[in-house]
C-alpha cells in the first residue's frame, strides 16, 4: 500500500537521492533475500521497533495536505486506504474497501470492510470517506483537487454553490456502502478516488458548508487523535523523528511490532552507516554503498527496479540549440551515448537502460521488440548527423550553415548521479562531433525555469518518479507544455508535441468508448511509447534499482515493485 501508492499519484520529481530513498517505493525484480518461508514455519514473535531512515522530515500529518513522499509514508500508516496497488503488478486491489465499476466506467460502488473501525471503536463509514473529499474541496492549499474534480457536483460544492456533493450517494441501508458518479470516464481514477478517509466525527466540523478553508487550519491536522491504519500517531519531534505505535484495533489485526519510527538522518552515508550499526533497521541505500553493505552480516538487501527514470531532455524548439529540433540529431544522441557504461559508472550496474516512457515493471510497458534499443554505435550516430545535413569542421564538430551542433546540458548541482551522467554524456558526444557542455546549478532556479519554459534551457537532466497510475498526461500531453507568453507552466518542458501522442494519451486516460480494459489501454500506450522511442524528445536514460536494506531478523518484508510497506503490520523481528 502506502508509500508507493502515494507516490503513485505524484510523479514526484526525483530531485534528490533523499526522495528516492524516502519513496522507498520499490519495484520489481528479484526480491533477492527475503525468505517468506520463515514466517510460515516459525511462530510470529511480537514486539520490537521498526526504525526507518529518511533524509527529509515529514511536513504534515493531514493526508489532504500531503505533497511530499515522507509525509505520505506516515499518513498512509495511520490512515488506511480503500484501494491498494498490487505490490507485484500495480493493479488496483481492494484494501479497506471492495469496489465495482458501473457500466460505461462512469461510476464506482465501494463497500467498506465490516471490521474496519476507527481506533476509538467507531465504525469507518462512507461519511468518513466523503469527509476526505469535502476536505479536499474546501482546502485552499491542497495539491489534490484533481483527484476528485471528476466527481459530479465536486466543483459546485467547492465553490459553495451546493451543500453536498451530488455525485456521492451513500446507501441508506448500509452506511459502509456508497456510489460515486463521475463526469467523464477516467481509467486510472480508481487510485485517485481511493483518497483520504478522515474520521467524520473529528474533521466533519471543519468541512461543513460555510466553513471556508477551516480544514487547512484544523488543530487535529498535525495532532491526529483517531486512526484507521496499522499504527497510531504518538509524537512528531520536528526535524528529528516521527514515532507511531501499534494500533491494536487495526481491522487487519494489530501489527506484530510495537512501534514504527521515521528517523531523519543527514545523508546517504550516515544512513548506510546507521543501517550497519543497527541504529536503523530499514532504509534504502545508494549503489555506491552496496558493495560495503553486502559484507555486513546483520542486514539483508532487497533489490527491485525503481518506478521511475533519469533522463536527458532535449528542448526541441530551442532558439539557440537549433540542431535539437531535428529528430535525426536526437537519435544520434541516443546512439552516441553508451548508457551501459553510465549505468556501470554511476549506478554500479544497479539499473537498466530506458528507451521509452514507461518502465518495465509497469503493465503499460510495451513489448521490447517493438522499440529501438539504440545500442551504442558512434558510426551510426555520425551517419545520422550527416543525414541531417551537417558536415564535420576542422574543429571536429559537425556544423550546418556555419552553426555548430552545440548545447549545454544543465542539471541540479549536488546530485552526483546526474552530474556524472552529464559529464559522461558531454565527453562521449564530443567523440561524435557534438559540442556538449555541462552546467550545474541550484535545483530551485532550474525547476522554475523548466516549468516556465525559459528559452535558455537547451538540455536538462532530471528524473521522474512514476506511480501506480500509468497515465503520462501530465508529462507528455501537449496541453502541459509551458507557455511563457501566457505565463502558463507545465511539465512537458521539452516542448515536444505530437497529435498522435496526444490522442493515444487521451484514449488511454479517458476513452470515449469507456473501454478501460488493460488490453485496450496497453495498445494506446504502445503507440505512444513507439513514437517517443522514435522521436527521442528525451534520451530516456536509465531506471535505477531500489536497494532496500533491512535488519536480517526482520521477517515478512516482502516488497513488490509497487510498494514496500503494504504489509508492515505483518512484519516481525525474530529474536
Amino acid at each position: 500500500m502506502a508509500a508507493a501508492h502515494r507516490t503513485s499519484r505524484a510523479l514526484v520529481a526525483v530531485f534528490a537521492a533523499s526522495i528516492l530513498v524516502a519513496t522507498g517505493c520499490t519495484t520489481g525484480g528479484p526480491a533477492a533475500t527475503t525468505a517468506p518461508t520463515a514466517a510460515a514455519t516459525v511462530a510470529v514473535q511480537k514486539g520490537g521497533r521498526i526504525i526507518e531512515g529518511t533524509f527529509s522530515d515529514i511536513r504534515t500529518l493531514q493526508p489532504v495536505l500531503v505533497a511530499d513522499t515522507p509525509s505520505g509514508r506516515i499518513t498512509d500508516l495511520i490512515y488506511d486506504r480503500l484501494i491498494q496497488a498490487d505490490p507485484q503488478n500495480g493493479e488496483p486491489k481492494p484494501r479497506m474497501a471492495t469496489f465495482t465499476a458501473g457500466a460505461g466506467g462512469k461510476s464506482y460502488t465501494f463497500t467498506l470492510n465490516a471490521n474496519a473501525n476507527w481506533s476509538d471503536g467507531k465504525p469507518i463509514i462512507a461519511e468518513d470517506w466523503a469527509t476526505g473529499v469535502k476536505a479536499v474541496a474546501m482546502s485552499k492549499i491542497t495539491v489534490r483537487k484533481s483527484d476528485f474534480s471528476n466527481i459530479e457536483g465536486f466543483q459546485e460544492f467547492a465553490d459553495g454553490k451546493a451543500t453536498t456533493i451530488s455525485g456521492i450517494v451513500i446507501d441508506p441501508a448500509n452506511p459502509k456502502k456508497w456510489t460515486v458518479t463521475l463526469k467523464a470516464v477516467q481509467c486510472d481514477g480508481i487510485f485517485q478516488m481511493s483518497g483520504y478517509t478522515l474520521p467524520a466525527h473529528v474533521f466533519g466540523k471543519y468541512v461543513a458548508a460555510g466553513q471556508a478553508d477551516a480544514i487547512d487550519k484544523a488543530a487535529e491536522n498535525d495532532n491526529p487523535t483517531v486512526f484507521s491504519g496499522p499504527y497510531k500517531f504518538k509524537e512528531w519531534r520536528k526535524g528529528d523523528q516521527v514515532i507511531l505505535t501499534r494500533n491494536d484495533s487495526y481491522w487487519q489485526g494489530a501489527p506484530h511490532t510495537d512501534e514504527y519510527v521515521y528517523k531523519v538522518v543527514a545523508d546517504a552515508t550516515v544512513l548506510a552507516a546507521q543501517l550497519k550499526t543497527g541504529e536503523l533497521n530499514f532504509g534504502t541505500i545508494e549503489p555506491k554503498d552496496l558493495a560495503d553493505m553486502e559484507r555486513v552480516d546483520s542486514v539483508k538487501i532487497s533489490k527491485y527496479q525503481n518506478l521511475g527514470y533519469t533522463y536527458i531532455g532535449w528542448r526541441v524548439n530551442s532558439p539557440t540549440a537549433t540542431a535539437l529540433a531535428d529528430k535525426r540529431v536526437r537519435q544520434a544522441l541516443a546512439y552516441g551515448l553508451n548508457m551501459d557504461d553510465v549505468i556501470k559508472a554511476v549506478l554500479f550496474g544497479e539499473g537498466q537502460k530506458q528507451v521509452a516512457h514507461h518502465v518495465p515493471v509497469q503493465w503499460a510497458y510495451p513489448a521490447p521488440a517493438t522499440l529501438n534499443a539504440y545500442p551504442y554505435d558512434t558510426a551510426k550516430a555520425e551517419q545520422l548527423i550527416k543525414d541531417a545535413g551537417y558536415t564535420k569542421g576542422a574543429d571536429g564538430f559537425y556544423a550546418k550553415d556555419g552553426k555548430t551542433i552545440s548545447f549545454t546540458i544543465r542539471t541540479n548541482s549536488g546530485n552526483k548521479t546526474r552530474e556524472t551522467l552529464a559529464q559522461v554524456a558531454a565527453e562521449q558526444y564530443k567523440k561524435i562531433g557534438v559540442d556538449a557542455k555541462t552546467q550545474f546549478e541550484a535545483f530551485q532556479g532550474l525547476v522554475t525555469q523548466l516549468q516556465e519554459g525559459h528559452q535558455s534551457i537547451e538540455a536538462v537532466i532530471i528524473g521522474w518518479a512514476l506511480g501506480n497510475s500509468v497515465d503520462p498526461y501530465t508529462i507528455w500531453h501537449s496541453s502541459n507544455t509551458p507557455d511563457p507568453a501566457t505565463k502558463k507552466t507545465g511539465f512537458n518542458f521539452t516542448f515536444f508535441k505530437s497529435a498522435e501522442v496526444d490522442k493515444a494519451i487521451e484514449e488511454g486516460r479517458s476513452p470515449a468508448s469507456g473501454d478501460c480494459s488493460v488490453a485496450t489501454r496497453k495498445g494506446h500506450y504502445a503507440t505512444m511509447n513507439k513514437i517517443l522511442n522514435e522521436e527521442q524528445p528525451y534520451n530516456f536514460g536509465f531506471a535505477n534499482n531500489t536497494l532496500a536494506v533491512t535488519a536480517k531478523n526482520l521477517e515478512n518484508f516482502k516488497p513488490g515493485p509497487f510498494s514496500a510497506i503494504y504489509n508492515m503490520h505483518e512484519w516481525w523481528f525474530k529474536k
Binding site: V12, R59, S146, K238, G239, Q241, E259, V265, Q444, T489
Partner: protein, 320 residues
C-alpha cells in the same frame, strides 16, 4: 539603566526593519518559485492549482504590497503560514526549535569559556614553553578549519570508527526525553565542533591580553607588595584581561547562532539553523523571514546584554 535599555531597544527597531527589507528582497529575488517547487512533479496538477496555492499565500500580490502585509502581521506576532509545512505557522515552527538551538549554543559557549580562557592564561604564563606552543598550534587550527569539515571528520573518528558517540540527533530512539546522560552523549560532539573556533579565539585573546596586562605597573606593584603569583594573576591580571573577552562575546554569540546553521545540518540537530537552512532551500519565505527576524532580535538582545556586562567587569564603564 532602565532608560538606557529602553533607548537601546528603540534603536534596534530601524535595524530590524532594515534587516527585514533586505532579507525579504533577497529571498524573493533569488531564482525559484516556492509554489512551483512545492508542486513540481505532482500528477495532474493544474495551472489553477498553482495559482490558487500562490494566492492562498499572498504571493500573487505585488512585492511591496506583500512586504507591507507581512510587516503588518509580523508586528502582531503573526509571521504567516509555512508554505511547505502546510498546517504549521512559521513562527511556531521556529519557536519550537529555539530551545534546541539554545542548548547547543550554550553548551558551545561554556566549552569555549571553560577551555579557551584557562588555556590562554596558561599559555601566556608559560610563554614560549611547549604548552604555549601547543595552545598556539590548536588556536591556529581552530581558526583555519571550516566547522562543517571538522564535523564530518569527528563523525568518522568518534562515531563510525570508534563508535563512541552518536552522530545524529539529540536523543537515542526509545530513550526518555529526560535521559540527561543520553542527551549529553548527543550534544558533546556538535557542541565541541561548534565551539572549536571560539576556543581558538578566546585562547589567542586571553594569551595576548594576559601578556599585556602582566607588564602593567600595577601588576608589578602587586608583585612588589609580596602577593603570591596566584593572587596576582587571578585577582589583578585576569579581571582586566577579561574585558576584551566580553567584547568578543557578542561576536561569538552571532557566530554560535549562524554557525549552528551548518553544524545542525551536519549532525541533524533539530534546531532553528536546520529549519532555516531547509526553508531557504525550499524557498519557504514565511519561515525564512520568521527565522531571520527571531535570530536578529536575539542578536540585538545579546549585544545589549554584552554592553551591560561591561559595566560589571569594568567599573570605569558606566551605562546610561
Amino acid at each position: 539603566v532602565r532608560k538606557y535599555i529602553a533607548r537601546r531597544l528603540l534603536y534596534a527597531i530601524p535595524t530590524l526593519i532594515g534587516i527585514s527589507i533586505i532579507v525579504f528582497a533577497i529571498s524573493r529575488l533569488a531564482p525559484g518559485d516556492p509554489v512551483q517547487l512545492y508542486t513540481f512533479g505532482i500528477q495532474d496538477i493544474t495551472q489553477a492549482d498553482v495559482d490558487r496555492i500562490r494566492a492562498a499565500h499572498g504571493l500573487d500580490k505585488p512585492m511591496p504590497l506583500q512586504y507591507i502585509t507581512w510587516a503588518t502581521n509580523a508586528i502582531q506576532g503573526d509571521f504567516g503560514r509555512s508554505i511547505i509545512y502546510p498546517s504549521q505557522n512559521a513562527s511556531r515552527l521556529i519557536i519550537e526549535r529555539i530551545p534546541n538551538t539554545i542548548q547547543l549554543a550554550v553548551a558551545a559557549l561554556l566549552l569555549q569559556l571553560l577551555i579557551g580562557v584557562p588555556l590562554g592564561i596558561i599559555a601566556a604564563l608559560n610563554r614560549g614553553k611547549i604548552i604555549d606552543q601547543i595552545a598556539r598550534f590548536f588556536s591556529t587550527i581552530g581558526q583555519a578549519v571550516p566547522d562543517f569539515w571538522m564535523g564530518l571528520v569527528f563523525i568518522i573518528i568518534f562515531s563510525v570508527t570508534l563508535r563512541l558517540l552518536p552522530s545524529q540527533g539529540m536523543l537515542t530512539i526509545g530513550k526518555d526525553q529526560w535521559d540527561l546522560a543520553d542527551r549529553l552523549r548527543h550534544i558533546i560532539m556538535p557542541a565541541f565542533v561548534l565551539a572549536f573556533g571560539g576556543i581558538a579565539l578566546f585562547t589567542r585573546l586571553l594569551r595576548t591580553e594576559t601578556l599585556e596586562v602582566i607588564r602593567q605597573d600595577y601588576i608589578r606593584t602587586a608583585e612588589a607588595k609580596g602577593l603570591t603569583d596566584r593572587v596576582v594573576v587571578y585577582r589583578h591580571a585576569l579581571r582586566n584581561a577579561l574585558i576584551p573577552v566580553v567584547t568578543a562575546l557578542g561576536g561569538v554569540l552571532t557566530f554560535l547562532i549562524s554557525g549552528a546553521l551548518v553544524i545542525e545540518q551536519v549532525f541533524t540537530w533539530p534546531g532553528v539553523g536546520q529549519l532555516t537552512f531547509q526553508s531557504a532551500v525550499a524557498k519557504d519565505y514565511p519561515v525564512v523571514m520568521a527565522g531571520v527576524m527571531i535570530a536578529s532580535t536575539m542578536l540585538v538582545i545579546s549585544y545589549l546584554l554584552r554592553d551591560l556586562t561591561y559595566a560589571l567587569v569594568d567599573p570605569r564603564i558606566k551605562v546610561g
